[in-house]
């Protein structure tokens, strides 16, 4: 069925809420009252309910199927966490209430911070960044602030970023006023240590490195890299997007990291929500801790206090990243998840995530082309060599997976291999789900090699929409509904 836009469905006089009639006090709007109509459609509650239920039914979701989506860590989202986040004591609390009325909220922030610091082995955490990329910005600002304190902010302006990095890394560095210098990868999918060392110099502010990296591999030379960048006077920013692979088994603090953001919506299972909201707290080393942004929670005796301004701060905060205190709703969910797993469970998370990925790698590498030898960490990278000459591209292969009931894996990322297919099963998929998935992938591989090209190039066929014309969308963008021209409307 088709579902029209709400603007095409609504009509005057219908309304999905009942509000009391205003009593009619004298307004104090000083002539600034709105004159014309806004143009919002009127719909009753049942219509709104059905509209959005029907829209939802056009979506794929982790609750309904497997997302082998590399680098995105689409794991199970426990509903306990949703319930906890909706406790009125968390959800119905204003960020600017007197601090005396929110001790439990501060306790929650402090407790989550404690878990993050312990798990990462880092001495400080900045809670306010609103997503992973925002956390990156926080980390780079802390680095820049540290350089300022050293008087080197104007000279150290270059940030080294591996080719395989997420796009947010270079974008963040640029937003923070740095120039970006790409580091090539070696044959085995890791940072080219020699090339990296050759790029070090007095203008280097630091390196941004994802570990495990976006090829799903642990950077074996991580300590060397950390030491080298430190020796060169720079800082080590670690992109924590892949922390899921090592949580409970490796402390980034032991690897020489100066700053690392943690995507609560990846490792700690807050739901992706079709694109957000996330949360990106950043753990910081002793070198960067003094520059952590406002606000932050401190312990004063047995009380917690939120430091909101520089005057009240004993440290040297680099500024403020958001209006209030961060993604409280996500903090609650993440802490609920952490407490549920505990120290032992979180370690098991990493182990099972890595085990699942290696199982997929081992079970597919004879038919698909694995980009690197195993073991991998939490994700397995393939490239399109196995499709050579079949007329099937990585994209077609991905779209064919949709008709088999899967969300495609991440494709064309990382950029370091051709036609990349990055598979991350996560720890919350069962062996039987993986077995069926492996069977399906082997069958698709067979079909591609057998010349059943149309099964791929026509895919998907079983979806609410088939392939959409993205070029047309971008060429002449239609970004909103507009009312039909009056002539038509008058019909």
């Amino acid at each position: 069925y088709e579902e029209a836009l709400i603007f095409e469905r609504g009509r005057d006089g219908a309304c999905g809420v009942d509000l009391p009639e205003p009593e009619g006090v004298t307004p104090r709007l000083n002539g600034m009252a709105r004159k014309g109509a806004i143009g919002l459609p009127g719909l009753s509650e049942p219509e709104v309910m059905r509209h959005f239920v029907r829209l939802s039914q056009k979506n794929y979701s982790i609750d309904a199927g497997f997302y082998p989506l590399g680098s995105c860590t689409m794991k199970h989202n426990p509903r306990l966490n949703e319930k906890m986040a909706r406790l009125p004591g968390f959800a119905d609390v204003h960020p600017l209430q007197p601090q005396s009325t929110v001790p439990g909220a501060l306790e929650l922030m402090s407790e989550l911070g404690r878990w993050l610091m312990e798990l990462t082995g880092m001495p400080a955490v900045a809670m306010s960044p609103k997503a992973g990329a925002h956390g990156e910005l926080c980390g780079l600002m802390a680095i820049r602030a540290a350089l300022e304190a050293r008087g080197e902010a104007d000279t150290r302006t270059r940030v080294l970023v591996p080719e395989s990095a997420h796009g947010t890394n270079p974008a963040t560095a640029a937003a923070c006023g740095f120039s970006v210098d790409a580091i090539p990868a070696t044959e085995d999918g890791r940072v080219d240590l020699a090339a990296f060392e050759a790029k070090l110099g007095e203008d280097v502010a630091g390196i941004m490195l994802t570990n495990p990296n976006t090829c799903g591999l642990f950077e074996r030379d991580i300590r060397k890299i950390a030491d080298a960048v430190h020796d060169a006077g720079g800082y080590f920013y670690c992109d924590g997007a892949n922390f899921n692979a090592i949580v409970g088994r490796v402390k980034p603090g032991d690897l020489g990291v100066d700053a690392m953001h943690i995507n609560l919506h990846k490792t700690f299972s807050t739901p992706h929500g079709g694109g957000g909201p996330g949360a990106g707290p950043v753990v910081l080393s002793d070198a960067l801790a003094p520059f952590a942004p406002l606000p932050y929670v401190v312990k004063e005796g047995d009380k917690l206090r939120l430091i909101e301004d520089e005057a009240a701060s004993d440290a040297d905060p680099f500024g403020r990243m958001v209006a209030f205190h961060g993604q409280m709703g996500m903090f609650v969910r993440a802490l609920s998840y952490m407490m549920s797993h505990g120290s032992d469970g979180l370690r098991q998370v990493a182990e099972d995530a890595v085990l699942n990925a290696n199982y997929v790698l081992a079970s597919l590498k004879d038919v698909m082309s694995a980009s690197f030898e195993g073991p991998c960490m939490h994700e397995a990278l393939f490239d399109d060599r196995f499709l050579k000459g079949t007329g099937v591209e990585t994209l077609d292969f991905a779209k064919a997976m949709i008709d088999e009931g899967y969300h495609p894996m991440t494709v064309y990322f990382p950029l370091v291999v051709h036609g990349a297919m990055l598979i991350e099963p996560t720890e919350t998929e069962s062996k039987s789900t993986l077995d069926v998935f492996i069977g399906c992938m082997r069958e698709l591989t067979r079909a591609a090699k057998a010349g059943e090209t149309e099964r791929f190039t026509n895919a998907p066929e079983l979806t609410p929409r088939r392939r959409l014309d993205e070029t047309a969308a971008a060429r002449k963008p239609i970004l909103r509904w507009t009312p039909p021209a009056p002539a038509q409307a008058a019909e």
Partner: protein, 448 residues
């Protein structure tokens, strides 16, 4: 371990397939020194009941807005959200879906984003809007960066009555990006001379509407002044419900309108997650930050939606992107879109009228308290009062009496002696006559 499907048997079998002896074999690339074998200083796993008890105990220590006479605003507002909203956003297909990069199986998300963009454009009176930012403050800062790109200038002029946190975010970002910021002093009556600050270097002027103290002003003059110098006018709206009662910035010449969308569909959440609204003119669309959903057709010619103009974005353009934003506020937009769909024209404008009325009544009540002055002449649902004692003391004393009476301006403008006695007070449709009476009585007691 209820979330982990693998059994000990499964693990053994899988290791066999992989050809590994133990799980440790899979972690060989980790330097030996970095492998943790000991337990962390954290408790072991717990059942639902135990976790629920611990977190409920924390939550119970907080005074939640719904349980007291509540008048706190200054950038986040307590409104009633229909039960339908929270029900719908928890549907698996919305809550647990990924960013809609695969449009064939994401039409639900893409269509509501398209509807959201349309709603935001309509409310602000602008031509186009994006699919959300983190919140109002970061949206405002992104607007400044965008104005710099559009004008190829790097100086922003900020009204003194811009929310101090918005200002701080802009200043922080600008400092690291190497851009200039000129910010005026706060002015409780809203009579600053902003136009005088605009010059040929100015990329944008940022004003808040209604402003931090609650004042409502016609923006046409400042828009004209900005445009005359080739600068853009950025308007920040922390309380989007006001758009149900006030002229839209788009009608007054705004070039970029940003807003905090929390008020519609989203709970207070102690500050987040919220949803930043971002709207601008069609001609600037390629300089916009953030995701955009656009209409197109599929291979069968049927209308559908995709993410579009992604060559502005970090995952394509990397260091040349218009923003580093990736994850946005998807589910919060959805809440916004659903709530606004329920309200519709009639409900939204009535909601705004009720908010204004609630604030007018409260102002009338508080004016009667000896020693209290209402300083804001024209306002929407928020205004500023002056008390004969420092505002922080008054607010704390009110809290002791179970009334959350607003925000001391000094909390957001520490060190500014001029605002020491000012309280920013918000009233919404949730406040009853009894709430207002309780506030008035408590305030009279505190000041007596």
């Amino acid at each position: 371990m209820r979330y982990l499907p693998l059994t000990a048997d499964d693990r053994q079998q899988m290791l066999g397939v992989i050809g590994a002896k133990s799980i440790d074999d899979l972690f060989v690339d980790v330097p030996e020194a970095a492998r943790i074998d000991h337990a962390f200083d954290l408790p072991p796993h717990q059942g639902e009941l135990e976790v629920e008890r611990a977190l409920s105990a924390m939550a119970a220590k907080n005074v939640s807005a719904g349980t007291v006479p509540f008048f706190v605003g200054a950038g986040a507002y307590k409104h009633h959200v229909p039960a339908t909203v929270d029900h719908l956003i928890q549907r698996s297909e919305f809550l647990t879906s990924y960013t809609p990069y695969q449009p064939e199986i994401s039409q639900g998300t893409l269509q509501y984003l398209f509807e959201f963009q349309t709603q935001v454009a309509l409310l602000t009176g602008m031509e186009v809007a994006n699919a959300s930012m983190y919140d109002g403050s970061t949206a405002c800062s992104e607007a400044v960066q965008m104005a710099h790109r559009v004008t190829r200038r790097t100086k922003a002029v900020l009204s003194g009555n811009l929310h101090p946190h918005y200002r701080a975010v802009i200043e922080t970002n600008s400092r690291f990006a190497g851009d200039a910021v000129v910010a005026l002093e706060a002015n409780v009556t809203g009579t600053e001379d902003l136009a005088a600050q605009i010059d040929g270097e100015t990329s944008c002027v940022v004003v808040q509407y209604p402003d931090f103290f609650g004042n409502i002003q016609d923006l046409s003059a400042i828009a004209a002044a900005a445009h005359e110098q080739g600068a853009l006018l950025i308007v920040a709206i922390p309380e989007i419900v006001s758009m149900g009662a006030l002229r839209a910035p788009g009608e007054m010449g705004a070039d970029i309108v940003v807003a905090e969308g929390q008020s519609i569909g989203n709970p207070l959440n102690f500050g987040g997650p919220y949803v930043g609204l971002f709207a601008t003119r069609q001609k600037y669309v390629r300089q916009m930050p953030g995701r955009l959903a656009g209409e197109t057709v599929d291979v069968d010619g049927r209308r559908g939606y995709v993410l579009t103009l992604s060559t502005r974005e970090q995952h394509i353009r990397r260091e040349k992107a218009t923003s580093n934003i990736c994850t946005n506020s998807g589910l919060c937009c959805l809440a916004f879109t659903i709530h606004l769909s329920l309200l519709g024209e009639q409900g939204f404008t009535r909601l705004a009228a009720l908010n204004h009325e609630s604030a007018c009544k409260l102002a009338g009540d508080l004016e009667q308290v000896a020693g209290v002055d209402v300083l804001t002449q024209a306002f929407f649902n928020e205004f500023t009062i002056r008390t004969p004692k420092p505002a922080v003391e008054v607010i704390d004393a009110l809290a002791e009496k179970g009334v959350l009476g607003g925000v001391p301006a000094s909390r957001l403008m520490p060190g500014n002696e001029a605002v020491r006695d000012l309280i920013i007070v918000a009233a919404t449709e949730v406040n009853t006559d009894a709430d207002r009476a309780a506030y008035k009585a408590a305030l009279a007691e505190v000041l007596s």
